[in-house]
């Protein structure tokens, strides 16, 4: 009988790993806590750098799941117990299963922008998160609370990232390019709206990201101001007043915007932290899970038969997540080839 692998989390990593594992001859039990697979991508209207619909990638990933993948949705795994070279898994609602190996693809959560109180999220009407703007793109309606169209929008990079004050010193990687993508989309919906991005560093690390940044400047006149927002205030007209230092001019700068978009970063998902604690796994100061070797065995945990893929080990974009998922499938195949756990 084929060996059975439990994949925890049906986002990009879980979907890709499941299909990769079945093509390697494994049976897969894919467990998703929500009613539907797709993770964060299902809430994302368009993807960087080419602005393709998120659903397109999701459909492709879902269509690769064959009959060897048994999907359980609406199940939150709360316990994974290693028992005699196998694993017993159980969920909050009493559901149980067993597996020969476990792959954690439990992913990330978005930073709660309320923690950055000085930016005014949840306090001022027209301060929203990047995720909310993405939902607005899905409906095609970009408007202020009053229903009016914004004439000037500001994007704040690194909200919940590179910030010791919120306990996250790491870079979330995807927010810079997401800001550029969303800034361009704003200009496509509202050509007369002025768009400003406030950044610390522009981290355009991926292929075609720099081109997107250049396009934002060249074609859409998006302005990039190097300076991190200290605080925002609302004036009597409802305009949001931003105070930053224009660090390239070495002067403080004050500017009013109609709408402020906070580029929220990635944090380990609650389930990633919970299962990590339950299993006694090591997590780093950034609270993401730690592999046995960051370069050589990024998918392998300290527990034999337990593997990682995707953003449970740190922020990743979709392409890197998918590559990581396929790499995890190979690591699992290698684990059984090495005569570990003969049966």
């Amino acid at each position: 009988m084929n060996r059975k692998i439990a994949v925890i989390g049906g986002g990009a990593a879980g979907l890709e790993a499941s299909s990769a594992l079945t093509s390697l001859g494994f049976r897969v039990v894919l467990v998703e806590k929500e009613d539907e697979t797709g993770g964060h991508i299902k809430n994302w209207h368009a993807l960087f750098p080419n602005r393709r619909p998120g659903v397109e990638v999701l459909d492709a990933l879902r269509s690769k799941l064959g009959s060897d993948v048994e999907l359980f949705s609406g199940k939150t795994v709360t316990e994974i117990k290693p028992v005699n070279d196998r694993f017993e898994l159980s969920s909050a609602d009493g559901w149980k299963t067993e597996a020969d190996a476990v792959l954690l693809t439990t992913g990330f959560s978005l930073f709660n922008a309320r923690k950055k109180e000085e930016y005014g999220y949840g306090i001022y009407d027209n301060v929203i998160t990047s995720a909310e703007l993405e939902s607005a793109f899905s409906t095609g309606k970009i408007a202020m609370k009053s229903g009016e169209q914004p004439k000037r929008i500001g994007f704040v990079h690194c909200v919940g990232s590179r910030d010791e004050k919120v306990g996250n010193i790491y870079c979330s990687k995807v927010c810079c390019v997401t800001a550029v993508k969303q800034a361009i989309e704003i200009k496509q919906y509202l050509p007369d709206c002025e768009v400003f991005c406030f950044y610390m560093d522009m981290r355009m690390f991926g292929r075609h990201y720099e081109e997107l940044y250049k396009e934002a400047q060249e074609k859409y006149y998006i302005q990039f101001i190097r300076g991190r927002l200290s605080e925002s205030t609302e004036d009597h007209t409802g305009k949001i007043i931003l105070k930053v230092e224009d660090t390239l001019l070495g002067k403080p700068l004050k500017i009013g915007v109609d709408m402020l978009v906070l580029m929220v970063g990635m944090e380990p998902a609650e389930i990633t932290k919970n299962l990590g604690t339950q299993l006694g796994l090591v997590s780093d100061s950034d609270r993401f899970l730690v592999s046995t070797d960051q370069h050589i065995s990024a998918n392998i945990s300290e527990i034999p038969g337990l593997f990682f893929a995707g953003t449970c080990t740190g922020p990743k974009n979709i392409a890197d997540t998918l590559a990581d998922a396929r790499s995890a499938a190979l690591a699992i195949a290698g684990y059984f080839d090495n005569n570990h756990n003969k049966s």
């Binding site: 400047q217 006149y221 302005q223 390239l248 001019l249 403080p252 004050k254």
Partner: protein
Amino acid sequence: MSGAVEKVRFGFSVNKDRQIDYDANLKNVSDIVQKAEPTFNLCISCGTCASTCTAGKFTDFSLRKVILMVRRGETKGLENEITKCMLCGKCQLVCPRGVSTRNLILQIHKALKTGAL
């Protein structure tokens, strides 16, 4: 004692705000330059132009800063500032974003003369 009290000057005054007030600043020069030389928008403030600039070696002239000041509408004193440029074009050779720096300087000069209030 009667009569007016003489005003005592202690030598204190209020400093002028250093802050760039973006909403109050006029961006007409920026608008004109942007249309006249579209590569104006491509600057990423890397400073390669300023590092190779001969004028910058002897004065505090920096094209990187000039571009930013135009963008922010901080055009006061800029007309004099850009006369330090000798139009040698070394900056154009080194710019990684292909900004047409010489024409940019000429267009800024023109816009400051005609566009500014």
